[in-house]
């Protein structure tokens, strides 16, 4: 319970303890990164490990600087972001729609279920050659790859969320004379919002996997392309720099979804 009363000494002590712990955790978090990169830099400087094969933080920063200077970084980042976002949105929309249809018609669900299970088990990368033949050597293939990686998981997660809706609540609505559409809009959809948000979180990761794999298979630009290219020409600095950028992008996107979660799920 919230109170406006003056905080007791013990409460103040307790809050102080929590704050102290938080600071401790944060310091250690930063420290780990500093130590890791510091040792890496030191080891390459002292030539304990080969900077050519292992790269180093200073080389990575230099590479990112070069990419920034010639403007190519924006092109690569934008390309991959576009592919990932497009795949993510398409997968969310299509997956949720299919799950809705499966909720609406039990027979449709029963009929389609084995296909979904088979597709879920199939490694999507196996479809790479087919996708390239159908969608060509370019960005469309990659978007489709990202879409394909995320869509099945979306469908499965969402239909399970819809079906988890309590039967007693459905009964209650029926006793009020509710029709199927009302049960869907008043109960099933709002009660599935937490599932939807956690599904978005999974999808972000899935779409990144799809778009990077897609770029490995066929691309002329993008972060995945930079990584593959860097590996082929033995520019490990480029590979490491691209990986770091990828980490940052995926982290930011995940943080955005988490923010949406905080905004929407206050009441759950």
């Amino acid at each position: 319970m919230k109170t406006n009363e003056k905080r007791s000494e013990k409460q103040a002590l307790y809050l102080k303890k929590i704050k102290k712990n938080k600071i401790f955790v944060n310091i250690l978090r930063v420290l780990i990164a500093v130590i890791f990169f510091g040792l890496w830099e030191l080891a390459t400087d002292l030539e304990i490990i080969d900077g050519f094969l292992m790269s180093s933080p200073s080389r990575i920063i230099k590479t990112i600087g070069e990419l920034l200077a010639d403007g190519s970084l924006y092109v690569h980042v934008f390309t991959t972001l576009y592919e990932t976002l497009a795949g993510f949105i398409l997968a969310t929309v299509v997956g949720t729609t299919v799950a809705l249809a499966m909720w609406w018609s039990e027979n449709f669900r029963k009929i389609i279920e084995p296909y979904i299970i088979v597709l879920n088990g199939l490694p999507k990368i196996a479809l790479g050659p087919i996708i390239i033949v159908w969608f060509g050597n370019g960005i469309n293939s990659i978007v489709f790859m990202a879409f394909l990686t995320a869509v099945i998981v979306t469908t499965i997660t969402m239909i399970n969320g819809f079906l988890a809706c309590e039967n007693s609540k459905i009964m209650l609505l029926k006793s009020m004379g509710a029709n199927k559409l009302q049960i869907l809009t008043k109960l099933v959809l709002p009660s599935s919002l937490p599932t939807f948000i956690s599904c978005l979180k999974i999808n972000v990761g899935m779409a990144w996997i799809g778009s990077i794999i897609g770029e490995y298979l066929t691309s002329r630009q993008g972060i995945g392309y930079l990584i593959v290219y860097g590996g082929q020409v033995f520019k490990l600095d480029l590979v490491m720099a691209s990986t770091l950028i990828l980490c940052l992008l995926a982290g930011v996107m995940y943080a955005l979804v988490s923010l949406a979660e905080k905004l929407f799920l206050k009441k759950y």
């Binding site: 309590e166 029926k174 006793s175 009020m176 004379g177 009660s191 759950y268």
Partner: protein, 254 residues
């Protein structure tokens, strides 16, 4: 007083892959307007099925159910159903929760909404209109659930063990509470419970059912002082007597 509800030789079976399970056999009884009637019986005997039938959620295999001189074929907004748990939607405020039946029946009548709000005021939820269910105590939530049931102004209330999810102390208090609201609003009620005391404390008439397939074992008219609250009635001399009779009947049945 006029008869508001009538079950005429109602029989019901459930169908499963393993076969047919008879639940009710030849059940007939009447409920008069303003009466408080309880249905008791061994657990799993099909008490809830009786409410589902009256609510129009399922259809009987044989016999018919007549409510307000019309056969029940589908859910009717003049019948309100209250379940074991409050089933308030956590993403809706108390106000939005109690308006739910009006939304479902597309009743946009502002005066009706006003009346529902005044029910919230009248029964101690005035300051909680904009609160979410999880901020309320179990007793208050059940009261909100009752007001939700009353929002379409039903003539008949069906109560499916509405107190069983509460702890004993709260249960007695909420039972008193719900009873007084129902009487205050002049509603007819059918209560399903496995608690003999609760049935005697609240009801004018008690319908005892046999084991599955259930038929009527006995219809018992209680002789406790109806001016008393359910809690007070538990001290009535007739309470113990009735309890003993029903206890023996149900035990013999098992």
């Amino acid at each position: 007083m006029k008869t508001i509800l009538k079950l005429e030789s109602v029989s019901l079976s459930y169908h499963t892959k393993d076969g047919e399970v008879p639940a009710l056999k030849n059940v007939s009884f009447e409920v008069k307007s303003g009466e408080f009637v309880s249905v008791i019986g061994p657990s799993g005997c099909g008490k809830t099925s009786i409410l589902s039938l009256i609510a129009g959620l399922i259809k009987p295999d044989e016999g018919r159910i007549v409510f307000n001189e019309k056969e029940v074929k589908k859910p009717d907004k003049a019948i309100g159903y209250m379940l074991q748990r409050d089933e308030l939607f956590p993403w809706r405020t108390i106000e939005q929760n109690v308006f739910l039946p009006l939304e479902i029946s597309k009743n946009k009548d502002a005066s009706r909404k006003k009346e529902v709000l005044s029910l919230l005021d009248k029964y101690g939820l005035k300051d909680f209109k904009r609160s979410y269910p999880q901020q309320l105590s179990g007793g208050m939530r059940q009261r909100a659930a009752l007001i939700r049931t009353l929002s379409t102004s039903p003539d008949l209330l069906l109560l499916d063990e509405p107190f069983s999810a509460l702890d004993y102390q709260t249960r007695l208090a909420v039972c008193d509470d719900v009873y007084s609201i129902i009487k205050n609003e002049n509603k007819t009620a059918v209560l399903v419970t496995h608690d003999i005391s609760e049935a005697i404390a609240t009801s004018d008439k008690i319908i005892a059912l046999t084991k599955r397939p259930s038929s009527i074992l006995d219809i018992h008219v209680t002789e406790t002082d109806k001016t008393l609250s359910p809690l007070k009635r538990r001290e009535d001399a007739n309470f113990g007597k009735t309890f003993e009779i029903l206890w023996r009947e149900l035990n013999d049945e098992n």
